[in-house]
């Protein structure tokens, strides 16, 4: 079937009519019918050619011949199923990997929030430092992105350029929600405090009930909340009576007024979308820190919808002026130093269509690195298939020769071959899209802690399909053009002469170069994988200053259980006693947060007797709290002085334990830190704490960075300068640490029971081994290292297969030459050596090209990503391992064809003509 069968028949009839009439006229003029017909034909010319040229005028000729080429290509591929299946599988892997990663790039990095007109949304600020920042001390490069509630109100009320300006909590509120009636257990939920106009700003309607309004956000308003569609389905099976019903959130009554729409996941891409949306007015009651009324704590991200035609620069300038107005009210900005800081304070407006882009900023470099790696694998696959196609093209030489002898144009032959390659690539692409669906889900699981919660669809969307198609066509062109060009250079007469005993049949330079290219690319990937693996290993087994085995971390939240600060002392005592009584417990400690738990508290510190530092030169230290047994329980060794004892109470003299980095940063070499005083936040407080002990450095904040200076306070001691009416959230212990004598089975149940026996309201928020907590910090690194290794091995296999293919092909073609050599006295060993030498030469060439390229790549990666931790650009052991692996792989790939070559029977090879 062709597209134009009817029209073609018509054209044939038209031409036939012409010839008949011309013949008839000549017969009428007296010619014999035969002469007349011949003369008419002669006058008409080349009938098929005229028909061809005429058909081209229909304007669809290219399509028709393309359809012809595709059909021919499919027929050819069908005839060689082995080749076709191999190629499609290889391509499916290559294109699938690229498509899977592109799906994530598209879904995570490129997509806007599912709200109306995302393009008119504008974010106030250009970074996502979170979640409670002191406005005076922790501004980053003076560009403000996270704001106090007071500042938000000032900005909202004085910018008519915004249709709406909404505020949303930087972090999440850790809540316990229970329906007043009909809910047996309470649900651990994440909440987010948002301004009353939040849903109006995003123009998001409720799925059921109503959305939050500014009235809900007013002081003294009835406490209400919106439940997310996801939580509604998950916890209440979509029960419609949830809307309007009362809940207890952290034991406080709250009415659920509505359900958010199904597609809405809040103001940012995240793997922990909020379950509850609460008005900011409820933050003093339900929030952990109660910071709504603290004008110096930034905790709100701002995002607004600008009116049409508003100039960004002018708005940015105006917002910055308003910010400085607000900040000027703070005491910290009223000093000389503060004035200088204030002058530099500003806001940068950024596009807000993607919402708060922390996920995008955190994952972009990893995703693009992965995309690059997958691209390399695909390139290797291309080289492999190009070789297959080349070998196939040589086998089809006579077919091409005949077609050219029959008058096929070179361009047409070449085009046909390229079409065949592209068809093959598209078939591989289709298989790849299916693989990509599974691959995307897998990637999400490894990349994100709660990958399944991500508002990301693994189903290929139109842009993803477009990407896969474009990659397929490009792939087909890459691996198809060279073989097609080679094939169409065929001299028709040459191949038709038949077999000839020449050395011309050895694998061509192009084929060998492709193998070298493959080897080089796999060297690059393997070296990358080796370095990343080494860096991961360094991070996992570096001296964290800790022995991690047999240590358990239990997350608790006394504030959620309703404890007031005055009841904490008794609670902590009880917890320590009860856990000590558990069999197998060596030490039991309490703390605000343990190493690499993801939490961090920062203060500026000032040492008594030292001059005030220059503005911007203040020393930031991390702050933590420790119970008497904490350091022993976590395994952080004491170096000098003492740790805390039960005598260090809320009312005893204020003491502190510092780490070595703290000593190094704040004291001169040789100076004795013990007995020195320092304070936090303001130089006025410099006499607050006396240093009684020094502990070794331990990585608390990040597995890759050197430990920050740190100081520890006893669980319940507060700075005397702190105003008593503010709640000091740092008094609430966040984690319990247990050091066990040995691995204890069933410990988790015992821990839960013990905690419940202290207070039934006190629940275990999270239970894990210390090693698990540390490893959770390295999931990203591990994933990248593992995927690179996977890609590297895939590349190695492809390269080995390629080398095998070319060598085997060479042996096949050189059978007669080998036969002659053996007839002339060459030994089997000599033949094996000859074949292996060829294979090894290509591998060596690959190494020579690959290693410097890998060096360049590593340097490039280091320039934008701190993926390589404490690893030199070129690590000798890694290179040695890669060289070894490649040589072994090449030996294996070369040995099989070499042995086949050695088994050639000279007599038979010579006979076979």
């Amino acid at each position: 079937m062709s597209l134009f069968d009817g029209r073609k028949r018509e054209l044939r009839d038209e031409i036939e009519g012409h010839l008949r009439m011309a013949t008839a006229d000549r017969v009428a003029a007296g010619a014999t019918p035969e002469d007349a017909r011949r003369e008419a034909m002669r006058e008409f010319g080349n009938v098929p050619l005229v028909a061809d040229v005429t058909r081209e005028r229909w304007g669809w000729g290219w399509l028709e011949s393309l359809v012809q080429d595709v059909r021919f290509a499919l027929r050819q591929l069908w005839k060689t199923p082995g080749f076709t299946v191999t190629a499609i599988l290889t391509l499916a892997l290559g294109i699938g990997a690229n498509t899977a990663i592109f799906t994530l790039v598209h879904e995570v990095l490129l997509k806007n929030l599912p709200v109306a007109n995302p393009k008119t949304l504008v974010r106030l600020g250009d970074h996502e430092d979170c979640c409670y920042l002191n406005e005076v001390s922790s501004s980053r490069a003076d560009s403000y992105s996270i704001f106090p509630y007071e500042t938000y109100k000032n900005l909202r009320d004085h910018t008519e350029e915004f249709e709406q300006l909404a505020a949303t909590q930087g972090g999440l509120a850790d809540l316990t929600a229970r329906r007043a009636s009909g809910d047996a257990a309470s649900h651990s939920s994440f909440g987010r405090f948002v301004s009353g106009n939040y849903f109006a700003t995003f123009e998001v309607k409720s799925y059921a009930g109503r959305t939050l309004t500014p009235a809900d956000d007013a002081d003294g308003a009835e406490p209400v909340a919106m439940l997310s569609y996801r939580a509604w389905q998950r916890d209440y099976a979509g029960d419609p009576s949830v809307v309007g019903s009362s809940f207890y959130v952290n034991t406080h009554p709250v009415t659920i007024v509505g359900i958010t729409p199904p597609g809405f996941y809040g103001d940012r891409m995240t793997d922990t979308p909020p379950d509850l949306y609460l008005p900011i007015s409820e933050e003093p009651t339900l929030g952990f820190y109660g910071v709504r009324n603290s004008p110096d704590v930034g905790w709100l991200f701002l995002i607004g919808r600008v009116k049409p035609g508003v100039a960004q620069e002018a708005l940015q300038e105006k917002v910055s002026v308003l910010l400085r107005q607000s900040l000027a009210q703070l005491k910290g900005f009223q000093t000389v130093r503060g004035q200088k800081l204030l002058a530099k304070a500003h806001v940068v407006l950024t596009p807000g269509g993607g919402g708060i882009a922390s996920m995008q900023h955190n994952t972009a470099s990893s995703l693009y690195l992965l995309l690059g790696l997958a691209g390399l694998v695909l390139l290797i696959a291309c080289a492999n298939i190009a070789n297959l196609v080349l070998a196939r093209g040589l086998a089809r030489r006579s077919e091409v020769s005949i077609r050219m002898a029959l008058g096929a144009a070179r361009a047409r032959v070449m085009r046909q071959m390229i079409v065949e390659s592209v068809v093959l690539a598209c078939l591989g692409g289709m298989a790849g899209v299916m693989l990509a669906y599974a691959g995307t889900k897998l990637l999400m699981e490894v990349m994100f802690t709660h990958g399944s919660e991500m508002p990301v669809s693994a189903l290929p969307s139109l842009p993803v399909l477009g990407f896969a198609f474009a990659v397929s066509v490009l792939t087909g062109l890459i691996f198809g053009v060279a073989p097609a060009w080679m094939g169409s250079r065929e001299q028709p007469a040459n191949a038709m002469r038949g077999t000839n005993r020449s050395t011309r049949d050895k694998p061509s330079l192009l084929q060998r170069s492709l193998v070298v290219l493959q080897a080089a690319l796999s060297v690059v990937l393997l070296i990358g994988a080796g370095l990343l693996g080494k860096s991961l290993d360094r991070m996992q087994h570096q001296n964290l200053g800790l022995v991690t085995n047999n240590r358990v971390i239990v997350d608790v939240s006394p504030s959620k259980a309703g404890y007031k600060p005055e009841r904490l002392e008794g609670l902590y005592q009880q917890i320590e006693d009860k856990f000590h009584a558990l069999p197998g417990v060596e030490h039991a400690g309490l703390t605000l947060y343990t190493p690499l738990s993801g939490s961090n508290w920062n203060w500026y510190v000032y040492v008594q007797g030292q001059p005030a530092p220059m503005p911007g030169k203040e020393v930031t230290t991390s702050f933590d709290r420790a119970s008497p047994e904490y350091f022993k329980a976590i395994g952080q060794r004491l170096i000098r002085g003492r740790t805390f004892t039960s005598a260090d109470t809320a009312t005893s003299p204020r003491v502190a334990v510092v780490n070595e980095a703290f000593v190094k940063k704040l004291f001169k070499p040789g100076e004795d830190p013990i007995g020195q005083h320092f304070g936090a936040n303001d130089i006025k407080n410099a006499g607050d704490f006396e240093i009684v002990g020094v502990v070794e450095d331990t990585r608390y904040q990040s597995a890759r960075d050197l430990p920050d200076p740190m100081y520890f306070s006893p669980m319940l001691q507060q700075s005397p300068s702190r105003s008593t009416k503010d709640l000091d959230a740092s008094l609430y212990a966040g984690q319990i640490v247990l050091q066990m004598k040995a691995t204890t089975p069933g410990l988790e149940a015992q821990v839960r029971k013990t905690l419940a026996s202290v207070d039934p309201n006190l629940s275990v928020d999270h239970y894990q081994m210390f090693t698990e907590q540390i490893e959770a910090n390295l999931t990203g690194e591990r994933m990248i290292a593992h995927l690179t290794l996977l890609f590297g091995l895939l590349a190695l296999v492809l390269a080995a297969v390629g080398l095998y293919g070319v060598t085997a092909y060479g042996v096949q073609r050189q059978k007669q030459e080998i036969g002659i050599r053996m007839a002339l006295g060459s030994t089997r060993g000599g033949v094996v050596g000859m074949v292996l030498r060829g294979a090894m030469l290509q591998t060596l060439a690959g190494l020579i090209v690959g290693i410097p390229v890998a060096g360049l790549c590593v340097r490039y990666i280091k320039s934008f990503q701190s993926q390589l931790y404490e690893v030199a650009n070129m690590d000798a052991s890694v290179i040695a391992a890669v060289v070894g692996t490649l040589v072994v792989a090449a030996c294996l790939a070369g040995l099989v064809p070499a042995r086949r070559a050695a088994s050639v029977d000279p007599a038979r090879a010579l006979r076979a003509e």
Binding site: G17, G45, T54, R57, G59
Partner: protein
């Protein structure tokens, strides 16, 4: 006949075939063979239209909407594809003819110019 005939014929000037075909069709509907015969006859055997140009041209004109086609019985009672000039084709013919006139006049002016004093 063929040889001497060839020598007397002249190649069609580029781009004039459309005009000649359309002009021929103004005298009435005609099939491809008829058109080629008509052009030859009205040029006193001087202009020979190659079929390799004629049929592609006819199909192109049809696609452009300047002619329409219909299968009809010919004088010899045979089925043939007859072309007919459309209103659009008539406009095009007028256009082509005007351009042609201008071109001939321009070329003539150059060719017949008297040598001028430098």
């Amino acid at each position: 006949m063929a040889k001497s005939g060839y020598q007397n014929r002249i190649e069609l000037v580029q781009g004039t075939l459309d005009m000649l075909v359309l002009k021929t069709l103004q005298w009435g509907d005609q099939h491809g063979y008829g058109i080629s015969q008509a052009i030859r006859a009205s040029s006193n055997e001087v202009l020979q239209v190659e079929t390799g140009s004629l049929y592609p041209a006819l199909h192109r004109l049809e696609r452009a909407g300047w002619v329409s086609a219909e299968w009809k019985k010919s004088d010899a009672n045979q089925r043939a594809k007859f072309y007919r000039i459309t209103a659009l084709g008539k406009k095009q013919l007028a256009n082509d003819y005007e351009r042609w006139g201008k071109m001939v006049a321009t070329i003539e002016a150059i060719m017949s110019a008297k040598e001028r004093a430098l």
